[in-house]
């Protein structure tokens, strides 16, 4: 028995509209697409205003008047759209970029570089059993050759017999990318099945 809930009918309509693009571009999909963009942008504004209230305005109300500077910087962001005074937006952007870059690179050096290299170096290559040894060797060889593959400034590294080192890295990366593709297939189907289950269970109520 099909549901009478208008919310579910609307959701079903938009689900089918969004799916229809897989078959052919059409007006219904375009309507859904533009609706989505509008709603997404609106949600950003609503959450942005809420964020400003929760983490900025409440601070001013608590007496931290210095946050007025933050509000001025935030408004300066919108100078981006002005023909003459667009350069004002560079100040808050510089703050955001400096903050973002500083926060991420300080830890990236540790997590992506030091820890990865130390794990590669300290993992024993010869283990108690044959399969463990093979696995450890593949991991080590994979890590080292993959890094060597990305050294493009030394052309001689990619020539002759020594050129097999980055080649092996490329082969192992291709094997890994294949695994990533396999997982991507599962991921996408896993997402879409949720929509199909919604249509069959919540809308048509046949499961």
């Amino acid at each position: 028995m099909v549901t009478m809930d208008p919310q579910i009918w609307l959701a079903a309509f938009f689900t089918i509209a969004a799916t229809s693009y897989a078959f052919r571009d059409n007006v219904v999909f375009k309507f859904a697409e533009y609706t989505f963009i509008g709603v997404a942008a609106a949600h950003q504004i609503v959450m942005g205003v809420k964020n400003i209230r929760d983490y900025g305005w409440t601070k001013i109300m608590e007496g931290q008047i210095i946050y007025v500077v933050v509000f001025v910087l935030g408004i300066m962001l919108y100078a981006r759209f002005h023909r003459e005074y667009y350069w004002l937006y560079r100040f808050p952007i510089a703050f955001l970029v400096g903050n973002g870059v500083g926060i991420s690179i300080r830890a990236a050096i540790h997590s992506d570089f030091i820890v990865q290299i130390s794990e590669t170096a300290k993992t024993p290559l010869i283990t108690g059993d044959a399969l463990g040894t093979i696995n450890a060797l593949i991991t080590f060889v994979g890590a080292v050759t993959a890094i060597v593959h990305f050294i493009f400034t030394q052309e001689k590294l990619h020539e002759g017999a020594i050129g097999y080192i980055p080649k092996i890295g490329r082969w192992l990366m291709l094997l890994a990318f294949g695994a990533s593709f396999g997982n991507t297939v599962m991921s996408r189907f896993g997402m879409y099945q949720g929509r199909v289950v919604f249509l069959l269970r919540d809308w048509l109520q046949i499961i």
Binding site: A22, F23, R24, H43, Q44, M47, G48, K50, N51, D54, Y55, T58, K59, E62, N99, G100, I103, S104, R106, A107, A108, H110, S111, V115, Q116, E119, T139, A176, A179, S180, N183, T184, V185, M186, S187, R188, F189, G190, M191, Y192, Q193, G194, R195, V196, V197, L200, I206, I207
Partner: protein, 277 residues
């Protein structure tokens, strides 16, 4: 046109229709196939299971509607395990839609009904915090300096769960579920690198390969690997849900993809042979 050329030239509409059918049929007639749990999900489960009662978990809902079909069931299963173990959960959202995912997830968990949990004492939701890694650094650095109210505007000073939670030192485990690479990396950077915290992460299956190095190096204690990981967690926690249901659907649809790959390659090779001869 030879048979092989015909096989490589099926119209897009036919292929899409077959995909649609492969998803609908198992949804109508589930097979109930057994599940084999992966090691990464097992490690997530074990990491949470090892926490003593009363431990504090910082949980980040870092996904939105796009990731909900895959990650929502896993999020629900994770919360079931945490509430079952009487762990304290401080929930936040670094994704814009996280605050809208929260009620959907909580409707599936029903902490008050199932576990007698009390909002403010056993769990709290501080809402969306903008800035991804800045937000993470802010929450882990000095929570009370950053956050004044919960997601509904209630002062956190009235929440007993946060009385002794000021930052990283008072949190026993960071858990996140996200569709964003920035958030997935960000928690490793900010929680593990900065404070040497224990972290478990859930991501879409297609992102698992890129964060696996963190798992291999011990920076992540476990990974919930998309819908597969969600199904594993549902199985391990004993709360079967949408992810386990999806396993059957994946059987048909992924088998169809394998058939497409086989047909495409065989007909391509055969038509190449015909051209050569």
């Amino acid at each position: 046109m030879s048979i092989w050329e015909k096989l490589t030239g099926l119209p897009r509409e036919i292929v899409m229709t077959l995909v649609m059918i492969s998803i609908i049929i198992p949804a109508l007639n589930p097979l109930g196939l057994p599940l084999m749990t992966g090691q990464m999900s097992q490690d997530w489960y074990d990491a949470v299971d090892a926490l003593p009662e009363g431990s504090v978990i910082l949980f980040d809902i870092g996904y939105g509607s796009g990731g909900y079909p895959s990650l929502g069931p896993g999020n629900i299963a994770a919360f079931h395990q945490m509430f079952d173990k009487d762990l304290k959960i401080v929930i936040m959202a670094t994704a814009l839609e996280g605050t809208l995912m929260y009620p959907l997830v909580m409707a599936g968990v029903d902490p008050e009904g199932n576990y007698g949990a009390v909002y403010g004492e056993d769990y709290v939701f501080i809402g969306y915090v903008a800035g991804t890694q800045t937000a993470m650094a802010g929450v882990l650095g000095d929570l009370h300096d950053l956050v004044t109210n919960d997601y509904q505007g209630n002062p956190i000073s009235s929440m007993p769960i946060l009385d002794d939670v000021n930052g990283a030192d008072d949190i026993d485990l960071v858990a996140y579920v996200t569709t964003s690479g920035d958030i997935a990396e960000g928690w490793v950077y900010q929680a593990y690198s900065q404070y040497s915290m224990d972290v478990v992460g859930g991501t879409l299956s297609m992102m698992t390969t890129s964060i696996k190095p963190y798992y291999d190096s011990g920076q992540l204690l476990g990974i919930m690997d998309g819908i597969k990981g969600a199904a594993d967690l549902e199985f391990l926690t004993g709360h079967a849900g949408d992810a386990i249901v999806s396993s059957d659907i994946l059987t048909f649809s992924q088998t169809l993809v394998l058939i497409f790959i086989a047909v495409g390659n065989i007909s391509w090779f055969m038509s190449k042979k015909e051209v050569k001869s």
